[in-house]
């Protein structure tokens, strides 16, 4: 266990950035999101939840897959180069790290998504324990401990200190690189903090949310429930929940005509959109109720059915905070709970 004064963090950032890209929560125009660290960046470790999850560090909102170029009637195809430089993501919360674990299940299983895999290989995750959990948090429901996140390095903010604990080889390598900035620390301080966090978490309004009835079996039992008809009504069919979610992984593939060629790129898609999975024959989900149901059934039933019971919700609560209609997965879970 090591520690560094929070006042010295800028030096730490600068050191990391000397040799690799550093992504961390940056405040810009009143909002905090993960962004590339630059000298004048306003780093914000106080905001618990960035608007977007940091998943776009590994799975960008939009990325080019390959480019086609036409000249003299011939077509050349240039694949986009894979990420080949190491980078660090600093300040990911426990839920966000679990979100990456969910994405791994999708993108790293066969067929492996090489773009994502390359980033995972080169990225080092420095997780930060949650100092002040929010009303909308319910990660513990999914067995996540916000006091002790996973990650290559785990850190805790205690008073004027950041405690630093490397967990993996990548984490040790990064720690070695930065070793002169740290001083040794006492683990007991961190243990106290963990206890404090866990105490708050118990008081959270959604702490005792029950997932009973969800999981693989829900695919059969809850698909045809009349509750969906009631629940979806306020949904505006926007993509806010999807785009702020740490685990939503759907994307669309599109072509952009640059005038001299075509860039094939993929970008996030939302199952809430009416043209989601639109194909030549039309759309397989024609009503908003179906689209709405899809999102929650995917997170709470289909995904666990295919992934050993792991839910693809991590309880970060971003959708709870951001839904324009105050509609969210908690209300969905509770609605079915009441019915049972």
């Amino acid at each position: 266990m090591l520690k560094i004064k929070t006042a010295d963090l800028p030096a730490l950032y600068e050191r990391i950035a000397q040799s690799q890209d550093l992504f961390l929560p940056v405040r810009s125009a009143g909002q905090t999101d993960f962004a590339l660290w630059q000298k004048d960046a306003q780093v914000d470790l106080d905001t618990l939840k960035t608007v977007k999850s940091p998943k776009d560090v590994f799975f960008p909102q939009s990325e080019t897959l390959y480019s086609c170029h036409r000249e003299d009637g011939k077509l050349s195809v240039t694949p986009e180069e894979l990420c080949d430089k190491p980078f660090v993501v600093f300040g990911m919360k426990a839920c966000d790290v679990q979100g990456i674990a969910v994405l791994d299940k999708v993108f790293l299983s066969e067929p492996v998504d090489s773009y994502y895999a390359a980033r995972r290989t080169h990225g080092t995750i420095v997780a930060l324990a949650c100092g002040r959990p929010e009303t909308s948090c319910f990660c513990t429901v999914f067995g996540i401990d916000p006091a002790a996140p996973e990650g290559d390095v785990v850190t805790w903010m205690v008073d004027q200190w950041l405690y630093w604990d490397a967990k993996t080889d990548k984490g040790f390598a990064l720690t070695d690189f930065l070793h002169d900035l740290f001083e040794p620390a006492d683990e007991s301080t961190v243990e106290q903090v963990k206890t404090a966090i866990r105490a708050i978490v118990k008081k959270l309004p959604y702490a005792d949310l029950s997932l009973e009835g969800w999981g693989a079996q829900a695919a059969d039992t809850r698909f045809d429930s009349p509750i969906w008809e009631q629940l979806y009504k306020p949904c505006l069919a926007c993509g806010t929940c999807t785009f702020v979610c740490p685990t939503c992984q759907c994307y669309d593939i599109k072509d952009y005509d640059t005038g001299s060629g075509v860039q094939r790129y993929r970008c996030w898609d939302s199952c809430m959109y009416s043209d989601f999975t639109m194909m030549a024959h039309g759309n397989n989900r024609t009503s908003q109720m179906q689209r709405f149901r899809q999102r929650f059934m995917h997170k709470l039933a289909y995904f666990p059915a295919n992934n050993d019971g792991v839910f693809s919700c991590v309880g970060c609560g971003r959708c709870v905070d951001k839904c324009p209609s105050h509609l969210n997965i908690v209300k969905v879970i509770k609605a079915f709970g009441k019915e049972d």
């Binding site: 003299d72 009637g73 005038g259 039309g282 024609t286 009503s287």
Partner: protein
């Protein structure tokens, strides 16, 4: 994928001198879908067109791009050529390499580079062209003539004689127009009324002509072959079917102080009146603004004396709606107002008059019964000065920049008539130039000088000063003598500039016909289509198009009639297929498009729509392609992009933009 052929025209050396046409053709072959490209000296020639035909046949082209002159020149030519080979004419696009490229650039490299880009844009567009079929619309076999002067009458008679129905709409109570106000006509000096009245009678009696006098065009909608026109028939307060035209009402009318418009306000008339004796129809109207009955409610003399019981104070304006295949504008002219010409003392002295007022004075039915006398004191003038170009050829805002064309001749006529009838009267004409192109015109003017002793002075008049003794002191200049002239005159006559009827602009706007800065209606082509307006189905007759004398007016009236007859002779017209189309799946039914459509071509209907399996009743827009003229206003007003324009679709224009910007 289309198979596109690109044909690059040299236009002799017009294009080839500045654009490397071979390179344009070579570059065309690199464009996707282009499977044929060639250049040729004259693509529009018979031989050029047959090369296009051959390529279409050999290569099975589905679209062609001709890189040539402006599409306004030869688009129709190449479309017809394509059609003859079985290719839909709307699969042809033109890249304008002449007017927009070779003629304005000097540097070959630069011009060629631009030519290639213009070619690319046309190729990009033609990729998205779809075959379009021109629709057909029926032609209403009836014409409307707006204005009942000699131009309108002549046009109407000519059309009617060809067997088509014609309506004349005349604003004043009688047809006849300006010509009915004239005394004699140049260069023959025959009596205006004597030649006009038979025409008026002929029109009135013609079985194919309907005359709406005291009426105005209120609203025009529709398009060539199918105009719908609202005509306001102003209340005459006299029942046309009962009135016998006896005239007793006019004699007995106690209100006699209204300025007589027909006599240019030189005398007065009664409140119930016919403008002149030969008026057609010979049915009076009540001028409700002067009529005591209408002003105070107490009178009713006319109704009391009318034996036919034709007076009807309760008559209301009536709006009739008629449909026409063609519309002829014959709104004529007026003289300009002279309030900005203080130096001529018009309005200050009664003896300074306009030429048109002199016409009335000289006319036996005029305010002086044809006697030449001063309006101030009734005395016979001994010295008369004519001033030319009053308000004509002025580049300032007091007058008009054009030559009014008729003044030189009518002044010669007036001078001659006066000298003939009153040999003791001296006549002096101040002129800038004497313009007499026309058959027997210069001879006529020379007669005035040589045979009648009219004194022509080259120079202008600076000032007309009314003197205490009632005479007028005219200060002018004789430029040839280089002397200033001070001349005492008893009467001064101003050759006042003419301008289009003030209603012309209003009517042009209703017809969407274009109009120039002087309010003359614009012709479709100044040389080749002088009697047609650029708006299809609208024709021009008489002075509304530009200053003209009577023979020219009559000639143009006949020409306009021929154009109308040519149109009405067709049973169907091909309509422009480049019309708007609404995509029912995208349409919101919000009516925004209908709000901007100038033709009322968009209506809404509730229709059962199948939107990818969702069946529901929706309110959706529907375009009447016979009414749509293809402006595209709706396509931009539509927020969802449901409205698109065939031939100029969103994707076609975007493809051109992309091709140019790449």
């Amino acid at each position: 994928m289309q198979k596109i052929g690109v044909f690059v025209c040299h236009c002799g050396s017009n294009i080839a001198a500045t654009v490397d046409v071979k390179k344009v053709a070579k570059m065309a072959l690199k464009e996707p879908g282009v499977c044929h490209a060639e250049d040729y000296p004259y693509m529009c020639s018979e031989a050029g067109q047959s090369r296009i035909a051959a390529a279409i046949a050999e290569k099975g082209l589905t679209g062609i791009v001709v890189c040539s002159c402006s599409p306004r020149m030869h688009e129709a030519t190449f479309r017809k050529a394509a059609e003859r080979c079985g290719l839909n004419p709307y699969m042809v696009e033109i890249a304008n390499l002449r007017e927009h490229c070779s003629w304005i650039h000097k540097d070959m490299e630069e011009a060629t580079e631009k030519a290639v880009i213009l070619m690319r844009a046309a190729v990009a567009k033609v990729h998205l062209n779809t075959p379009l079929q021109a629709g057909e619309s029926a032609v209403t076999k009836r014409a409307l003539v707006i204005g009942g002067g000699i131009a309108g009458i002549q046009t109407a008679i000519d059309i009617a004689d060809a067997g088509y129905k014609v309506d004349i709409v005349e604003k004043t109570p009688s047809i006849g127009g300006r010509m009915s106000q004239l005394d004699k006509t140049f260069p023959t000096l025959d009596c205006s009324a004597c030649i006009l009245t038979p025409k008026m009678v002929e029109a009135a009696a013609h079985e194919n002509i309907t005359i709406h006098t005291y009426s105005e065009v209120e609203k025009v909608s529709g398009f060539v072959g199918n105009f719908t026109v609202d005509i306001r028939k102003k209340a005459r307060m006299v029942d046309m079917t009962k009135c016998t035209g006896c005239g007793v009402c006019q004699e007995k009318c106690p209100s006699r102080k209204t300025a007589n418009e027909f006599n240019r306000g030189l005398n007065t008339r009664s409140a119930i009146y016919t403008p002149f004796a030969q008026a057609i129809p010979n049915v009076p109207v009540i001028d409700t603004e002067s009529c005591i009955k209408f002003k105070t409610g107490k009178c009713g003399v006319c109704a009391a004396v009318c034996q036919a019981g034709a007076i009807d104070y309760k008559q209301q304006d009536e709006i009739i709606t008629e449909t026409y295949g063609a519309i002829v504008v014959a709104t004529g002219f007026d003289t300009i107002k002279l309030d900005k010409y203080g130096e001529y003392a018009y309005g200050q002295s009664k003896d300074v008059i306009t030429s048109l007022e002199l016409e009335r004075i000289m006319n036996a039915a005029g305010p002086t019964k044809g006697h030449l006398e001063r309006l101030s004191d009734g005395k016979a003038p001994k010295e008369i000065v004519f001033i030319q170009c009053v308000g004509s050829r002025c580049s300032d805002d007091r007058g008009k920049p054009y030559c009014s064309k008729i003044c030189c001749m009518y002044t010669a006529k007036h001078a001659m008539l006066i000298r003939d009838k009153y040999p003791d009267v001296n006549v002096t004409v101040f002129y800038i130039d004497v313009r007499t192109p026309g058959k027997n015109f210069d001879e006529f003017y020379r007669r005035a000088v040589e045979d009648y002793g009219v004194n022509y002075v080259k120079g202008q008049v600076g000032k007309v000063a009314p003197q205490p003794d009632g005479s007028l002191l005219v200060q002018g200049v004789d430029l040839l003598d280089n002397k200033q002239i001070l001349k005492k005159a008893d009467m001064v006559v101003l050759a006042t500039a003419i301008e289009p009827n003030p209603d012309a602009r209003k009517i042009a706007t209703m017809l969407t016909a274009s109009i120039d800065t002087n309010n003359f209606l614009t012709e479709a082509h100044p040389k080749l289509r002088p009697v047609e307006s650029p708006t299809a189905g609208v024709f021009l007759s008489g002075v509304c198009q530009g200053p003209k004398d009577i023979p020219e007016t009559v000639a143009q009236a006949g020409a306009a009639a021929v154009k109308v007859i040519g149109l009405l002779a067709k049973d169907k017209l091909k309509t422009n297929p480049c019309t708007a189309q609404a995509d029912e799946l995208l349409c919101n039914g919000c009516s925004t498009c209908a709000n901007v459509c100038p033709y009322g071509a968009i209506t809404y209907e509730v229709r059962l729509v199948n939107d990818h399996g969702i069946r529901e009743e929706r309110r959706v827009a529907s375009v009447n392609s016979a009414l749509c003229q293809g402006c595209g206003a709706c396509t931009v007003a539509c927020p969802s992009g449901a409205m698109d324009l065939q031939g100029f679709s969103n994707r076609q224009i975007i493809a051109e933009v992309d091709a140019i910007c790449r």
